[in-house]
């Protein structure tokens, strides 16, 4: 990852019991769909589109998984913050 990209990325951990199941995935996709450009969720070497519930679910994130959130356009910095907060709150579960 180059330096430029690092600025647009945040690390987080899945804390809720069921992991990224349907409800959190829907919450993520809803926010990511408002972004100007692509928003990615990265686990290990797998990278999925945060605006697709199906893609998020296929990442199979269980409790304790470490996730990197990444945006491509600086204009989406606020989206990145919102997503990070959502993850940190354990999706309110």
């Amino acid at each position: 990852m180059n330096d430029l990209k690092k600025q647009f990325a945040k690390e987080t951990t899945i804390t809720n019991e069921l992991g990224l199941h349907a409800r959190p995935a829907a919450m993520i996709a809803e926010i990511a769909n408002r972004a100007t450009s692509n928003v990615w969720l990265i686990k290990n070497d797998q990278c999925v589109d945060a605006s697709s519930i199906i893609d998020i679910l296929s990442l199979a994130c269980l409790q304790g998984s470490n996730i990197t959130l990444q945006i491509e356009d600086p204009a989406d910095a606020e989206i990145l913050n919102q997503l990070h907060e959502l993850f940190e709150s354990g999706f309110g579960e």
């Binding site: 069921l18 992991g19 349907a22 697709s52 199906i54 679910l57 579960e93």
Partner: protein, 585 residues
Amino acid sequence: MTPREREIILNGISGSPGICIGKAYLVDREGVDVIEKYYISEDKVKSEISRFKNAAKKAKNELSQVIEGLPEDLKQHSYILETHMLLHKDKMLYGKAIEIIESEKVNAEWALKEATSRAKAMFANISDPYLRSRSADVEHVSDCIMRNLVGVQDFNISNIDKRVILVAHNLSPAETSQIQLERIKGFITNRGGKASHTSIIARTLEIPAVLGLENATEVIKNDDIIIVDGNRGMVIVDPDEETLFRYENLSKKYEADKADAVRTSDQPAESSDGFLMGIMGNIEQPEEIVTVRDHGGDGIGLFRTEFLYLNRPQYPDEEELFEQYKEVVELITPKPVTIRTLDINGDKEISAVPTPDEANPALGLRAIRFCLKKPDIFKTQLRAILRAAAHGYIRLLLPMISGCEEIHRTIELLDEAAEELERENHAYNREIEIGAMIEVPSSALIADALAELVDFFSIGTNDLVQYTLAIDRVNRHVAYLYNPLHPAVIRLLKMVADTAHRKNVKVYMCGEMAAEIINLPVLMGLGFEELSMAPQSIPMIKNMIRKIDAAGARDFVKKICNQKSAVDTMQFIEDTYGNLLTETA
């Protein structure tokens, strides 16, 4: 079609107890299954795409109407529907289908089918069973769009105008919430299990449901007369007159008994010859104590303490645990609370501990093994329990004991904890009763040695049956072998109970076996002093105990140990207690 000669019995999984008799109403989805494939010319691509978009939009509108029309008590389940709303526009489904129409020049139905199977394939490799099963959500959404594309006359469950028994392959949450529930007497599905959405709804509404029948939609035809026996997980199609008559009485009796049981639930459970049994509730959270009290529970036989350890990156501290345990004990005092120490297993990982992948979590580092490996964490919990014990009647239950060393080690930790609390001037009570959970066959076999160390045994039947019969009960292929009435299980139970009586140690049970009325004569005969179960089961179980003669049950158990199979055992129970069972079930 030729009329059937005789009744057909289908066996499935009980999703919700109760009995009903009525006409079958099949939720028909034929017509969606056969998808035609044809190529379209370049100039038709645009109109094909807009045909697809229209269908998706219509499907989405239908769903949003369903959500709007949802009655209040079902609103809490509606997040699943909200998820479906978003799925309608998901790139991997919606976007992909449009892409396929464009690139492959195929009709919209075929493109949607392709996109759906690709999306489903993405789920196939997920190892977590819960996440993997989410592919059903994709399937449901895809079906809704497909129905609008193909123009199949959509059955509309909300238009059912007679009281029927719903028969379906599988009911999606959207479909379940469309139903005008007062019109439904019961549910029957090919798929689904005890934890499925349909089962939860049926239990909330207190109507019978039998699920996991595999081929119900093939065997049952519209307007067939069927009997749903949610107590036994059984469906009878085209019952003959004798069966019908018997079940009509059973059904009336069941309803009357249920009402009666609730009325008398706060009375003690005393057998017909005066033997008193404690009927307790299993809980996970302090709030559930109210339910236990409302259903007439004589205390808490199993308080699962995992909840405070889940959903969080750090372990809870002693204060937090103490406050919760104190709340529980104060709410139920002077009745006892049996606190089971941390029982974490493969499917309840704590985020604070990245558990190494275990090939066999059920045989791995869990429960007492985990706690003894992390003595600091364990001691924090023990300290909180000892402190709470100063405020009421607490019993300590140790899960997954497989040998004496584990109890020795726990007692050492308890002593250390007590010494520390003494030095720190905390109020505490070291004189709490200690119990071993008997759920591993090895502990049943050395019950006499364990009895020297503990005050009581509590049998966790779910795991004991699973370990004894070597059956993973959530594995659909072998689940049929899971039977607590297997002679091997009964002999183990007898061994533990007899040892307990000889050694003057109390013997309780806290597994699902305790909540099934068919097992009661056996459990009473074996001399269990307390049974603990889901609070909702307490009234029925108490009612049943009042009808059984404990001395007679003891004689009965002597004979039952000679049975050679679970089927023989069940038959023997039916033969001896059939009248009582049918009266109550």
